[in-house]
């Protein structure tokens, strides 16, 4: 009993040093050497300043930008969460109803792609479905004085198909798409990764 107690104590310390300190630091070192961009969060910089991460969503509300999905945390990247609303909670149903009404003003009578009116799990979903992007094309074309086909071409450029052809779902990165919309308007000053 006493011997096992001493062993328990020493084992905790020794394995903590090995698995809790050496292991994560070695992985950090290897990751920083092998995949420095991914390991640091794929930050996007413009004129030397960080303007976001490629894979962390941001909120957009102006008519000239593609809108991200609803977020329960307002795209606060220190507070990731979903709405936690259950399927029969009237707050959820009312919220969806309100968003549907607003969005259908753009495309009267058309059913709204479901991801555009449902809050993501992380509250930071960087992507929308191609259907949700198409739903917004006409509004953006109007606001920016572009033709719908021009906007559609941009959407297509930023549509990621299923990984390796079959994994996951097709999707459009909202931040990158909006940055390329801005690049058309301002011409030269492009965001760099």
């Amino acid at each position: 009993m006493k011997k096992n107690f001493i062993t328990a104590f020493l084992m905790t310390i020794a394995t903590t040093v090995l698995l809790g300190i050496i292991y994560p630091l070695v992985v950090t070192g290897l990751a920083q050497v092998l995949f420095p961009r991914q390991a640091n969060g794929q930050l996007i910089k413009k004129d030397g300043k960080v303007i976001g991460s490629r894979i962390i969503g941001q909120a957009f509300s102006g008519p000239g930008y593609f809108h991200s999905r609803p977020s329960a945390v307002g795209y606060d990247a220190t507070n990731s969460n979903g709405s936690q609303l259950g399927p029969t909670n009237h707050q959820l149903i009312e919220r969806v109803k309100g968003d549907v009404a607003t969005l259908q003003a753009e495309n009267p009578g058309q059913p709204v792609p479901i991801d555009l009116v449902t809050a993501s799990a992380s509250g930071l979903d960087p992507e929308i479905s191609p259907a949700a992007a198409e739903f917004q094309v006409r509004r953006i074309a109007r606001a920016r004085g572009l033709s719908a086909d021009e906007v559609r071409r941009l959407v297509q450029q930023h549509t990621q198909l299923r990984q390796f052809g079959f994994l996951g779902e097709p999707r459009v990165n909202v931040l990158e798409l909006n940055l390329s919309l801005d690049a058309i308007r301002s011409g030269a000053s492009r965001a760099t990764n």
């Binding site: 509300s61 399927p87 792609p113 009116v117 993501s120």
Partner: protein, 591 residues
């Protein structure tokens, strides 16, 4: 449901089938202390650890000493984690300058949670824990509690395999070999694969990004007035995530670095990272069925158990996928049909890159095993879609199962199945040459009864008392589901949640802490008692009257016992929660 969705699900099962044998053979060699290809690197580390900690690697333990060593290690490492949480303000790797984890009952709850392999989280990682606590406290316990689980499963298997012996192995040796051979090498490779997909791994302070389009945000202040503020910045939480992410899945722990767990783009950025995480959750559990067959000399028995697991997995994922793909009929004016340009279905609390198939698959896998990681919020699943994870945990997570815990949980069911088969043919039941007698069945029933007792008692108290119901986020039958899920998750050491429930209260932190400790240790001790008792017994060669445990008939009987013992216990509670909610949702009712 789509063809592509099913393709992804079946591909996943095929990968698990493929890894079962190599993983199982490898573990059998590791725990029989035979040579493996990693010995040149790992043997010196192992010897060094024994020298530091004073372990005699040739010493064999009876089940009582094995249990005491396991308990001492768990208590000591739990106290160290508690102190680390409380003292993190004075420790290194804390760029965000987080102070002590408060209140005290939250720190206790978290320490109990990670020591028991539950990883129930009543806190949000990115706003509570320093990088040091995450690495040396939480991620460390992901290794330690997983290694304890594997050690126990191996001890149980030895109990079945050994004849007329008093001992079942050495806890310290099993612990160290689990960590060094089974867990660590896989994690180094897996972590780097995850980083390649975009899981972050750094020690930087959080980044500040200037928003592309500043946002007007309306908030209601304490005085009830609405204030409009302009948000121009996004603070992006960082950290050593990948090294913790991989062991979180591989050790079926489930505690996320971030609050949103594997839904967070920095924890699970692509469909491929999602597949790696899913694969990691089942690998050890599947492998242990082969180890069981190999160490007991009945490989076909191992596969019979594997088949029962695979059938129950497919049943669960089918229901969850079907329910989520059907969507929510209350959301009028939306397009929920799956097509080439959208996943459709119930997307509340899910991520676009995973869609419906991968979210339903993840929810099933994480609760088949005692993992508890999530890539979508179970609270926002449809009533039946959310019932699948709940029922999976209620079946004691034996479908591939938590690392080690799934195997010994399943072996308890096997003992009961063999016993029931024995009753039906009127003979003393035998299991792989060992007579199953009164003592063994009593201990197995103890395990089977502690679990629902803890869950139903605490849920019942919570549902009639203000300190229980005031934490509910979703009214109606869903509220009962939230409380039932919490205690089921705690007792099953799963750690996933119906996340709306505000669990960071004195009542829930304390009772959940106790539930997790009971769910772990009150199961382990009777289980080790059976192992010790079996090891002592004489071998009885199979005769004509022996019920074979290698046939499809056995697989069917085993599934039947799991469903009867596990699910019927909870049917009344389920019918008042998710089943009632499903019927009311179909009738168009909201709460």
């Amino acid at each position: 449901m789509t063809v592509n969705g099913w393709l992804q699900i079946l591909l996943f099962l095929a990968l698990i089938f493929a890894v079962t044998k190599p993983m199982g053979v490898f573990m059998a060699r590791v725990f029989s202390r035979e040579r493996t290809f990693m010995d040149p690197v790992l043997r010196p580390v192992e010897r060094l650890l024994y020298r530091i900690t004073g372990v005699d690697e040739d010493h064999e333990m009876r089940w009582t000493e094995y249990a005491i060593a396991m308990l001492l290690f768990s208590v000591v490492s739990m106290i160290v984690l508690y102190l680390m949480e409380r003292l993190q303000g004075f420790l290194p790797f804390n760029p965000q300058k987080f102070g002590a984890v408060t209140p005290v009952h939250l720190a206790f709850n978290t320490a109990a949670s990670f020591t028991t392999n539950t990883n129930w989280q009543a806190y949000a990682g990115e706003s509570t824990m320093s990088y040091f606590t995450q690495m040396a406290g939480l991620a460390y316990h992901n290794f330690a509690s997983a290694a304890v689980g594997i050690a126990l499963a191996i001890a149980f298997i030895r109990g079945i395999a050994r004849r007329q012996m008093e001992t079942i192995g050495n806890f310290w040796v099993d612990l160290v070999r689990s960590c060094l051979w089974v867990l660590l090498p896989f994690c180094v490779v897996g972590a780097l694969l995850l980083v390649s997909q975009g899981v972050v791994q750094n020690l930087r302070p959080y980044d500040k990004a200037a928003l592309v389009e500043p946002q007007q945000v309306q908030t209601t202040g304490a005085d009830g007035k609405t204030v409009t503020t302009t948000v121009t910045e996004q603070t992006i939480a960082q950290g050593p995530v990948a090294s913790q992410e991989i062991i979180k899945e591989f050790g079926t722990n489930g505690g996320g670095f971030f609050n949103a767990n594997s839904a967070h783009p920095f924890e699970n950025p692509t469909p491929f990272s999602n597949l790696i995480e899913l694969f990691s959750i089942f690998t050890i559990g599947a492998g242990l069925t082969y180890t069981l067959g190999r160490m007991t000399g009945s490989q076909r028995h191992g596969w019979a158990v594997w088949s029962a697991m695979a059938i129950l997995f497919l049943a669960g994922v089918t229901v969850a996928y079907w329910a989520e793909a059907r969507g929510n009929p209350l959301m009028a004016g939306t397009d929920q049909h799956a097509s080439a340009v959208q996943a459709g279905g119930n997307m509340e609390g899910k991520e676009v890159r995973f869609g419906i198939a991968n979210s339903a698959l993840f929810a099933t896998v994480t609760t088949d095993a005692s993992c508890g990681a999530i890539n979508g919020w179970h609270d926002s699943y449809t009533p039946l879609g959310g019932m699948v994870p709940l029922v999976n945990i209620m079946l004691s997570e034996v479908i591939f199962g938590g690392v080690g815990a799934g195997m010994y949980g399943m072996l308890i069911y096997v003992v009961l199945a063999v016993f029931i088969a024995g009753l039906m043919v009127g003979r003393t039941p035998e299991y792989l040459g060992k007579k199953i007698e009164a003592y063994d069945v009593k201990m197995a029933m103890l395990v089977a009864l502690v679990f629902p007792l803890v869950i139903l008692t605490f849920t019942a108290i919570s549902s009639v008392k203000g300190f229980g119901t005031s934490s509910i986020a979703n009214p109606g039958p869903h509220g009962l589901s939230e409380m039932l899920y919490a205690f089921t998750s705690g007792a099953g050491n799963n750690g996933s949640a119906f996340g709306g429930l505000n669990a960071n209260t004195l009542w829930y932190n304390t009772t959940m802490g106790l539930t997790m400790l009971a769910g772990r240790f009150l199961m382990i001790i009777p289980m080790l008692a059976i192992a010790g008792n079996l090891a002592r017994k004489k071998y009885v060669p199979p005769s004509l009257g022996t019920f074979p445990v290698t046939t499809p008939l056995f697989t069917v009987l085993l599934i039947g016992v799991i469903l009867i013992v596990g699910a019927l216990t909870f049917f009344p509670a389920l019918s008042l929660g998710p089943i009632l909610e499903h019927l009311l949702m179909a009738a168009g009712k909201t709460f």
